[in-house]
């Protein structure tokens, strides 16, 4: 196993232990807890918080992917081309909106709980995916597209068999960015009463218990880094198969 593989495995093992057996880490976090205060967060199980956190992110990112790729397909067809400049403008402006501000603005409109968090994650998650999907679908190799038409693929077959598979690595880049932002923003979501791992950190901040802050921070950080890493690996594998990079390079 390569060195990066070993680091990856160690991170996964550490994360699993932190989520499933939080009490093992009491000695590690004890120096950071206030005298006599709790060391390990116990108001809710870390596992259920993790599942709820990841579930929220998966749902929001899944929906965002469907909608963003769907919209990108529409505006890259001849019929939707008139909306291409507008959608670029919206993406550019939208991405300057801070994710936390989007979350905060969703509250007056939608109230507290998982709802506004889901909406904020979904809305903010749309933009990077939409942007990369447009980039992927509008920069396909012209010779391949010409050949796809020339051998008699219908529009639908071209989209499903050629355009989407070829654009997939680029779209995945957007999904990765979007998911990582969503994991981070979902953390802040616990300030609006969504059940996420942010709860542990916020509890630590409110009670000046640095042990909680560290516990929550390390778990969320590991989740984000590992998800990012997994999606990067997938992307590299796909890109390599498409021959955009020489096989065997950079290992």
């Amino acid at each position: 196993m390569s060195r990066s593989g070993a680091i990856r495995a160690a991170c996964v093992a550490l994360l699993l232990a932190l989520v499933l057996r939080p009490h093992w880490f009491a000695p590690v976090f004890a120096p950071f807890a206030p005298a006599g205060g709790p060391v390990i967060y116990e108001r809710a199980s870390i596992l259920s918080l993790s599942l709820s956190h990841l579930g929220l992110v998966a749902l929001a990112s899944g929906l965002a992917t469907l909608v963003a790729v769907g919209l990108a397909i529409l505006v890259t067809r001849p019929a939707g081309a008139a909306f291409l400049p507008l959608s670029r403008t919206i993406t550019n402006i939208g991405q300057t909106f801070p994710p936390v501000a989007v979350l905060a603005l969703a509250v007056p409109a939608l109230g507290f709980g998982a709802g506004p968090t889901l909406v904020a994650l979904f809305l903010y998650g749309l933009l990077p995916i939409f942007e990369t999907a447009i980039a992927g679908l509008s920069t396909l190799p012209p010779a391949t597209m010409e050949a796809a038409r020339g051998i008699g693929l219908t529009r639908w077959q071209r989209l499903i068999r050629v355009e989407l598979p070829l654009a997939l690595p680029v779209i995945l880049t957007g999904i990765r960015l979007s998911v990582v932002i969503a994991i981070g923003t979902a953390t802040v979501g616990s300030t609006v009463a969504a059940r996420t791992l942010g709860e542990v950190i916020i509890a630590g901040l409110l009670t000046s218990n640095t042990a909680f802050v560290l516990q929550g921070g390390v778990i969320v950080g590991l989740f984000a880094v590992l998800v990012y890493d997994a999606l990067s690996l997938l992307e590299t594998a796909l890109t390599r198969r498409l021959g955009r990079q020489p096989a065997g390079a950079d290992t």
Partner: protein
């Protein structure tokens, strides 16, 4: 037989292709040659309706191409473009089998056809079947591109500058392969190029286009010997014309009895190459032999006379 009948393509009132008619016989290679902007590619792309004609029609074996839905028409016509246009996310087998799959062939039949074509193009099926295009050399990718176009045994093969992206040595090899496979399969091919040398070398018939019009359509010898316009004469290259003509004639046509010094040449050597050898060796005659069997000789005087007679 492919009949192109008074076909025209207008772009904002300007004719890119202007009332072109020609007939392509089954089992022949027709090369359309012209400069960029001559309308040659537009003409080719109207045959499989990648571009819709403004007026006129194309008939394949008497049946109008307008009678079929576009994608079904294209599945019956092989199409090869410059830079191959292979699907980078399909294996070689997936690429070659793309059209058979569209036509609903069985898995076994497709697989057998893929292997047969790989063999035909001297690519070991076991070695190449499961590779991806990015792992192949430019020449190999180009052969897979042609194999893909031939996969469903199409009535017609259209090729748009198929060898344009290859370097000269590989290009010569690819041209020879194409000629060989076309003879073997009896395919009907329409090929577009800007290279007159390629046109003369490959074409049974050559069509010269300029400004959207078909200037001349004939055998390579006719085009060189009697260019219809100044433009065609310029295309076939003024002072080189006698040499080009000689390149079309094998020495077997002008064989005479007698012997000559030196290494014998094969009977299908062109007169141009024979002339070159005479000058190089500084001799007046070359011996001609089919393997070990002597056939006679060819003399510099005969070659000169033949060139003068053509001019």
């Amino acid at each position: 037989m492919i009949e192109i009948d008074e076909i025209t393509k207008l772009y904002e009132g300007t004719a890119a292709v202007d009332h072109v008619s020609m007939t392509v016989e089954t089992g022949t290679i027709t090369v359309i040659v012209g400069t960029s902007g001559s309308g040659k590619t537009t003409l080719l792309r109207m045959i499989n309706r990648l571009i819709e004609p403004s007026s006129g029609e194309v008939r394949i074996n008497g049946e109008s191409t307008a009678a079929l839905p576009k994608h079904e028409l294209r599945r019956r016509i092989g199409y090869v473009i410059q830079g191959d246009g292979l699907f980078p996310h399909y294996t070689i087998a997936g690429n070659i089998g793309a059209v058979p799959k569209l036509l609903g062939w069985s898995r076994d039949k497709t697989r057998a056809r893929v292997d047969e074509l790989l063999d035909l193009f001297s690519m070991e099926p076991a070695q190449f079947r499961d590779r991806y295009p990015a792992e192949l050399s430019g020449g190999q990718q180009q052969r897979v591109g042609v194999a893909r176009a031939l996969a469903s045994r199409p009535d017609l093969l259209l090729m748009d500058e198929p060898f344009g992206a290859l370097d000269p040595i590989i290009r010569a090899r690819a041209q020879a392969d194409l000629r060989h496979i076309q003879r073997q399969l009896g395919s009907t091919i329409v090929l577009v190029t800007h290279d007159m040398e390629e046109a003369i070398h490959l074409g049974d018939r050559v069509a010269v286009m300029d400004g959207g019009k078909l200037l001349q359509h004939g055998t390579p010898a006719e085009i060189i010997a009697a260019p219809a316009t100044d433009f065609v004469a310029q295309m076939v290259g003024g002072v080189d014309r006698p040499l080009r003509l000689l390149s079309l004639i094998p020495v077997s046509d002008v064989l005479e009895d007698g012997a000559a010094e030196g290494e014998p040449i094969a009977p299908d050597t062109s007169l141009r190459d024979a002339l070159s050898l005479c000058l190089w060796r500084g001799v007046e005659a070359l011996p001609v032999a089919d393997g070990d069997r002597p056939l006679g000789r060819v003399t510099l005087a005969t070659i000169r006379a033949r060139a003068a007679e053509l001019a």
